[in-house]
Assembly symmetry: C2
Homo-oligomer: 590 residues x 2
């Protein structure tokens, strides 16, 4: 009889303890029905990841333990939860064993606490110092690791830890402890090429341990973090089975016949074959791995990677709204590419009845802009309002006439963007909707946007996407619509016209900024790969352009600290996750 | 001949390496002229504290080392600087020895890396594991610690570290190493009662070590962090000498005649006696100490503590502007207490010629509001503009009429606040000025403010002050003006009228919020002392009021993530430093 371990790929909500327990129980039922011997849930599955400052409340940690105690399971379970700390110590990021007799026992606590990029775990947890082992879980003896615990071994961490829990487990095995497999409870956030890194981690661990390595990963969005799922299992020979991304479900790993592993999603009539990758088939996963943190950046956009990005930002917006109790979103629609793509994403995430698009033309708006916005709105079937800002603009200019005459043209341009922000927020407030900001990372990183104007909104779905990625999503969204027999929502005119803010006559983005392909390459090199000014110039970029781009970047600091959260899709984001002191931008030449 | 160590109390700017070196050299000259044998600068004095993500740039750390090498000193110096990390390791937060022959040598790296509240050091530094000792610095053998290294010993840390560098040094001394004193390079941020905590730390260290303990602290504001200076030295018997707060200068500690220690400020003709506190005189420092992190909160407001707060927020605003290269600030003046105090602070920080106040009356503005704002502006001598929003308000209401009719009254109220934001930002943009937001912590924590309206601004000088503290500052500001023979800037009417947003007829804050004394007590208990809902009720607060206050607090999350930085003056701030996940506020009842 084959030995089977179920990896529960869960979409948990931070703080929703009862709901999180319910989702665990639902997947446990599927796993048991499919013949699993034991189940492994994700890191901090009880609390949801990342719980952040909730962990500083003792009553929250206690409530997590109570919630874990209510889990009713037909098969033994390993589940991640915050565990109370010792006196004068922070809590642990732990794994609990829950048996079908209701017993709850601590198994281990995370040793390696990532504290870089989006991670702040040293702020919240005390580390353990010993590797985790569980005996007789559904008859199986298993090594137990939690997320980062496995990453040091593959050197896929930006700086080294003092210990390597995979080596520790391998050493135990050398002492006569016979482990059937090692499992890993993860909440490993998404970014492009992350899945290939996870594959490298799992293969490296399985090879060293000499037995299968199984990783259960959280899926879905929580605040600005996205989790892609893609739970995986690897054999020492490099064979891998993988769950799909962006959906909840169970990866049932057959330890005795790896290729017979299956994927079981709730509501589907039957299990599907899991994605099996034998050694030598690696081309179906993007390469990247090793170089990732050392400057690999994103690999070239492939059709698959664009679809993955589309799933990422859609799930991010959907989960942000649903988990925060927001039923409706509202956005300005200018006829440009950003707001067109944002409108498509909003409809894809929330449905057309939950989206309000507002056209707010001014004297500078071109007829094609008004037509393009209307065409997108009609194709998507969302509620569409047209509110001209002309009269408001005229009155505001009169009110500020002396100031606007003496100041730079920018002051007058910002007035228009802020009047639009006022209308969007007025409608958001009257409808109990959330405004979304439609800016992309390229323009946000250049400050080419108006604070309290087009930056208004509780979430920026395109905020971590380069302009070139926005165009790629536009193509994919149109193709998707056509394949479903619907009209393409984004017009050819929107796709092909030169980007313009339309805040002054015949304005074009490239009056101020370099062409977006050049801008994106410089910003990506600097932000994601950490290239300095001399390194960017050495890479072939025009020195004057590099200097101007980096100076605009440095001048955005006041805007940056007030940006809406955006779904994290890159190795290193601009905005929320990129913390530079304000004063330093004036004093230190990057 | 007496042995003397100079503590350099430096106001450093993050990233301004040449400027930081210049300030160090200026104070070194003063110290040498006064007969110091050696000098001790502050933590990360070369880079300024906190350098945050600059530390992730290798070229920044290298530039700090180069800058340290340019220091020309007449006496041996210990100075804090980022030090390059080993391969695959983060940099160190270190101390360099710079001798008058120009030699630069590493002495030690910080062992305890605070990663709580405003601190993120585990994100940026690798810890050292051995205590620091320097031999023959100006003929003296000294123990060397860096800020947090000394705090574990006094148990004034929220959770314990694995080691105690003060105990380590004491053990070394037991091995026959004769240290004359132990020094501490600090960048220890301000909050109310912090100085008494530092006193406790210094005395505990001196007592255990059996020799003097000398702490040099940074002064001034960097971004949202404030440093009060107040460098101190303690003897094993508990005697202390202390530098003044909020000014740069040298505390010259006489190791052989403690009471003969002096304070030397640049530009002053002669040295002043340092503040000497013999054991038994402790009442002149506020009590608090031990309980601080465990829930002591702020001590009652005394005249001294209000003046300290006034210095704190003035220095914070001044340094934020000057270090960011901002020459002018602009703010709305409503006639209410918050904008009146903010205007006074702006003038105190920047001078009247650098402040623009704007009155923006509407149909709901009372005559006393207009008169009070005018009176404050006149008394302060700032540039004062009156721009009615009436016509804009009428046009905006017409534009949004259908929406405003169907929505809550709040939607219409926000329109007014946003029109004012539009005018303030229009003037800020035309004058190259920074808008400051005038909200206080009590209303911000209740969401009683308009996002993209009165929350507009690059800095919120009152953002970490309770409403009751704003009133206390108002009294102090009036007293200061009168003592200088100037008119009191804040009218009696502003001081005594019931707070109102004046966004609808006869509106009062206490229509929506509890009276501010009750609100402040509940919020302070919850945010600063971590009291849960049951604990607040047990402390005597009305259960229904507590529930409503905590629910409003939870609903502010979208605003909170977009708040301007505010000077940190409390143990635990609301806003920037209080990170709770958004979704959790809907799912977890605090």
């Amino acid at each position: 009889m084959a030995r089977k371990i179920a990896l529960l790929q869960l979409n948990q909500t931070v703080g929703d303890l009862a709901g999180n327990v319910g989702r665990i129980e639902t997947l446990l039922t599927l796993a048991a029905a499919a013949g699993a011997d034991a189940a492994v849930a994700t890191e901090l599955a009880i609390s949801g990841y990342p719980p952040r400052d909730l962990l500083l409340q003792d009553d929250f940690v206690a409530a997590c333990m109570s919630a874990a105690g209510t889990i009713s399971t037909p098969i033994p379970l390993l589940v991640g939860s915050p565990l109370p700390g010792k006196p004068r110590q922070l809590p642990g990021n732990g794994a609990l064993r829950i048996d079908n007799d209701g017993g709850v026992r601590e198994v281990t606590r995370k040793q390696l606490l990532p504290t870089y990029e989006v991670f702040d775990e040293a702020r919240y947890f005390s580390p353990d110092s010993r590797p985790g082992i569980v005996r007789g879980l559904g008859g199986l003896d298993l090594g137990v690791t939690i997320c980062e615990d496995a990453w040091q071994h593959a050197k896929l961490v930006p700086s080294d830890y003092q210990s390597d829990p995979i080596e520790q487990l391998a050493a135990w095995a050398g002492q006569g402890v016979e482990l059937v497999a090692t499992v890993n409870l993860s909440s490993s956030p998404f970014h492009a090429t992350k899945q290939s890194s996870r594959l490298t981690v799992a293969r490296a661990a399985a090879k060293t341990l000499g037995h299968p390595f199984l990783l259960a990963n959280q899926v879905g969005g929580n605040d600005d973090l996205l989790f892609d799922g893609h739970s995986i299992a690897a054999l020492p020979n490099g064979d891998v089975v993988s769950a799909p991304g962006w959906v909840e479900g169970v990866l049932l790993v057959d330890l005795d016949d790896f290729a017979a592993s299956v994927w079981i999603a709730e509501g589907s009539a039957s299990a599907a074959a899991a994605d099996f990758i034998a050694v030598g088939d690696e081309q179906i996963i993007e390469s990247g791995g090793e170089g990732e943190l050392a400057g690999g950046g994103k690999s070239a956009q492939t059709a698959d990677s664009v679809l993955d990005l589309l799933a990422a930002v859609t799930v991010g917006l959907r989960d942000y709204c649903h988990k925060s109790g927001l039923a409706k979103v509202v956005l300005g629609m200018s006829g440009g590419i950003d707001s067109a793509v944002a409108a498509c994403l909003a409809v894809r995430a929330m449905g057309p009845d939950s989206v309000i698009g507002i056209s707010m033309p001014s004297r500078h708006s071109s007829q094609h802009s008004k037509d393009d916005a209307q065409a997108t709105a009609t194709a998507l079937g969302l509620e569409y309002l047209v509110l001209s800002i002309e009269e408001l603009h005229t009155v505001a200019e009169k009110r500020l006439s002396r100031e606007l005459r003496r100041g730079p043209a920018l002051a007058g341009e910002n007035v228009q963007a802020r009047l639009r922000g006022l209308l969007v927020m007025g409608i958001a407030n009257s409808r109990a909707a959330m405004a979304i900001a439609t800016g992309n990372k390229s323009e946000l990183a250049q400050g080419y946007c108006t604070l309290y104007g087009d930056m208004d909104g509780g979430y920026a779905p395109l905020g971590d996407l380069w302009k070139s990625e926005v165009y790629a999503l536009a193509v994919a969204l149109n193709e998707e619509a056509i394949s479903q027999g619907k009209p393409a929502p984004i017009t050819q005119s929107t796709m092909s016209k030169p980007p313009s803010a339309e805040l002054s006559p015949n304005q074009r983005d490239d009056d101020t900024l370099p062409p977006y392909d050049i801008l994106d390459a410089i910003l990506q090199g600097h932000i994601e790969q950490g290239q300095s000014e001399p390194e960017l110039v050495a890479a072939g970029h025009d020195p004057q352009t590099v200097r101007e781009v980096l100076e605009r970047l440095a001048r955005t600091e006041h805007k940056r600290w007030q940006m809406p959260p955006a779904p994290r899709v890159s190795v290193r984001a601009f905005g929320q996750g990129w913390r530079q002191p304000l004063a330093a931008n004036h004093n230190w030449r990057q």
